[in-house]
Structures are given as C-alpha cells and as structure tokens.
C-alpha cells in the first residue's frame, strides 16, 4: 500500500503545478478523516486499531478519493465522502479484505450522485494557498477561477451539435496529470506491486471502444488518443482498477475485468449523464468479479 502512495507523487505534483494547493489540502483532510473514522469504527467493533491503520489501506482510500474530487471542493464534501467510503464501503462489510466494492470509488459515486454541482466545479487556473483555503473552508464564490473539466465541456459542446473538428479536444493540464499517473503506474508494474494484466487490458478496452465509435463517425465521437489523456483514465487504469481486494484474482479474469472497465468508461463518457465514467465502470465491474472469477478458474496442475 505504501508503495502505491509513493507512486502517486508524480501525478499529484502535476496536479499541484496546474491547479495549486487544493490537492494537498484535500489529501491532508481526507487522510485525517479516514484515520479518525477507521479507528472509531474499529473501537466499536472491538478490533485492534494499530495494525489496521498502519497497513495503509484506509490512507490509500482517502488519498485516491481526495485526488479524484475537485481540488476546490468545500471541506465537508471530502469529509462526507471519506466517511461514507470507510463506513459503508469497507467496515460494514467486515473490514479490509471483505469489501466487494472499491471503497474510494463508492465514496466518489456517493458524492457525485448526491452533490453534482460541487463535484463538477474544478479549478481552472493555479490557486495560491490563501485563495485555496478561502475557497475550501469559507466556500467563497469561485466562479472566476473555476469551470467544468475538458471532458465535461467536450460533452456539452458535442450535445449542442458541434463536431469534433470545431472544438478543443485537448487539455495540457490533464495530459500532464495523466502522464504523471502513467509513470507512477509503470513504476509500480516494474516493482511488481501490481500485475500488468489489468492496466494493459483497461487501456486496450478504452482504445478499442473509442476506436470503434470514432471510426463509425469521427465527427461525433472523441478519438481514442484523447480519451487516454483526458479525465481519470490513467489514474483508473493503474491505481483504481488494480485494487487487489475488489478486482478479479485469476490471470485471465484480470484481462476480462480490465478490458470491460475500459469499454464501460468510454460508453459512460459518451452516452451517460456524467462527465467521467471511471468510478461507475469500476463499481459495475466489481459486481461482476465473482462471476468472472468463477468462469476463469485456472485448472489445477495434473487434472
């Protein structure tokens, strides 16, 4: 778990470079809440607290959720999201190792469904520390400094009838953030913290589905290379879909699981009501994991 947190540094750094201090504040807040909620719940359940905190799983959940939500979101958003993720996503199922869903994405889904406005207001430029503090804790108006993400804008524009030739398909900030997470993910793969199956299949799924759509009508659908560098694609492929507890466990199953998440991400981004689809795609495939595992059991040697 600690290795995974280290590998996130590059992506978080890119986030800081483009959007300012918000991401750090959200992470600090999220980790503090996660530790508090996890220890409270473990105390109620009469479980030892120290080993559960020091394994880093609650902290990782908090960090992943904190970098998924907008960096200028009000403080109560991250507090609610992390509490929901730890309590409903993890502890109520019996703690680490028993949760069928990815807790961070469950928290994210809860926030996105419940507070759509706050969850789609992103920083649009670098914000200094005082500015960020003001926005997060005083919820001062931020209209001038915020806006929708590139994916969100793209979707609105396409819905208005514009073609892909007429609109900006590109976002420098998001490209660098995705590049940061890609490098961190490759580091994890080389250190063999995560296996290659899920990320590779995830990216394949995105490319295949986006290519099919783009080839059928390149004016209406975002081309595959842009899908890869927009939104949470790389974060999802290397850090979220690879959660060892809620992901498929057989080699063949991992390929199917990753590929279908990639396909679903593009489908939800293109046809769904929300701007990005990684969270819902991961949650949907989490439900399918027992089925995938059942049908992809490797044969025992000698039988």
């Amino acid at each position: 778990m600690r290795q995974v947190i280290y590998a996130l540094v590059l992506g978080i750094g890119a986030h800081y470079y483009f959007f300012g201090w918000g991401v750090f504040l959200q992470i600090v807040l999220a980790v503090a809440v996660a530790i508090a909620v996890e220890s409270t719940f473990l105390r109620i359940r009469k479980f030892p607290i120290k080993p559960a905190i020091s394994d880093g799983s609650a902290i990782l959940t908090a960090v992943l959720l904190a970098i998924s939500i907008p960096s200028i979101a009000p403080w109560w958003l991250v507090v609610l999201g992390v509490s929901f993720a730890i309590v409903f996503g993890k502890q109520l199922y019996g703690g680490l190792g028993n949760n069928p869903f990815n807790p961070a994405m469950l928290g994210y889904g809860f926030l996105l469904i419940s507070y759509p406005l706050q969850m789609s207001t992103w920083a649009s430029e670098f914000l200094s520390l005082p500015q960020t503090l003001n926005v997060i804790f005083n919820s001062s108006p931020v209209d001038a400094l915020s806006g929708a993400t590139r994916l969100d804008t793209l979707k609105t524009q396409l819905a208005l009838g514009k073609t892909t030739d007429e609109i900006e398909l590109y976002s420098v900030a998001q490209m660098w953030i995705n590049a940061g997470f890609l490098l961190g993910g490759l580091y994890l793969m080389i250190r063999q913290v995560i296996m290659w199956h899920i990320p590779t299949a995830f990216i394949m799924g995105v490319v295949v589905m986006a290519s099919i759509l783009s080839l059928s009508n390149h004016q209406f659908y975002i081309p595959p290379q842009n899908h890869l560098i927009l939104g949470a694609t790389m974060l999802g492929a290397f850090f979220i879909a690879t959660d060892p507890i809620s992901a498929s466990t057989t080699p063949k199953g991992r390929l199917i699981y990753g590929f279908l998440i990639g396909v679903l991400v593009v489908i939800i981004r293109t046809f769904g009501g929300y701007p990005d689809g990684v969270a819902f795609a991961v949650l949907l495939m989490n439900i399918a994991v027992p089925l995938i595992d059942y049908y992809t059991q490797p044969r025992v040697f000698g039988q």
């Binding site: 409903f88 809860f110 469904i113 419940s114 507070y115 759509p116």
Partner: protein
Amino acid sequence: MEDYLKIAKNGLWDNNQALVALLGLCPLLAVTNNIVNAIGLGLATTFVLIASNTTVSIFRHHISKEVRIPIFVLLIAAFVTIVELLMQSYFYDLYLILGIFVPLIVTNCAILGRAEAFASKNSWDKSALDGLMMGLGFSLVLIILGAMRELVGGGTLFAQSSLLLGTLGESLSISVVDDYQGTLLAILPPGAFIGLGLIVAVKNFIDLKKP
C-alpha cells in the same frame, strides 16, 4: 388475553413484516422519500390488512382449499379498490403522488401472507387484531424510513403535510436544517436500500442485546 398480547408483539416487533419477513418491499422502498407519503401508504395498507384479514377469517370455512389463493386475492383487490376510490375523492393530491403503488397494494405479499398464514386458521377477532398490528408495524417502518430519507435528503420533516391534513398540515412542516443543500442519494432508490438495511441492523442489534 395473553394470546392477544402475543399477536400484538408479533406484529409490531418479533415478526415485523418489513424488518423480519422483508415482505412488501416494493412500496416500502418506492414511496418512502418523505413522511407524508409513508403515512399515506401505511394507513392504506393497514386498512386493507384489517379488512382482508377479518373477511378471510369469517369465510374461512366456506372457501375450498384448492382455490383459496385466487379468492384471497379477489377479496384483497376489492378492499384495495375501496381504498383507492376513497383516496381519490378525499386525498386527491396524495393519490396522484402515490400513483401506481396504491393499486399495487393488491400484490403486497405481506397482506396475502397474513391471509394465508394467520386469518385462514384463526377466529375473526384475532385476525382483525393481527391485521391491525401487522399494519401498524409495517407503517412504523415506513414512517421511520420516510423520516430518515426526508431529513437526510432535504433537511425537512413533514413537508407537504397539507396533502394529508389540509390547511392544518401547512403549519406542521418543519425545516430542521436551514440552508441545507440536500443529499440526493437519500431521496434516490439507493438511499431506500441503505436506510432499510440500517433499520434492520438496529433491530437485530437490539434483539441480540436482549438475553
């Protein structure tokens, strides 16, 4: 007397149709997004339960065993029609909000379940009491769930009470948290499932604590 007390306890707690038998979840989950809807549906269900239990019990010796289920359904459907027409004439706005879930009371397994499991085997006075208690137990869960979802979802309690009580109800509506942004999840279907799960958990917790 002890029998009657046992029937009451059974309906309200030990064999609560919503929390233990987990019957009738379709209306339970669908209309509990505020207290007023919950009370409306709870009253309608309770009325149908009392009436159907009593009639089934009175005619239990005349209904042949082979065709009892269709006859029970016919009896229940008759009372649901009465409730539907009454609501249409006296609580028209509430009737519009509850919509399909009023006629759907016919298919509420809790009602057919009580007719089959209790009323067809017991005397009419016990059956009527059983209907009342089962109905109250069901309504209680509806109201608690409705209150939870309304409070978390919109920060109010007893909103739209005028649908049930007319002008008297307008003063009942409480805005518990001022300037509340609302948590949409609680109003949406997942909120109903999570809320019911929590209530069931609390009930089981209390039962476990008892020696």
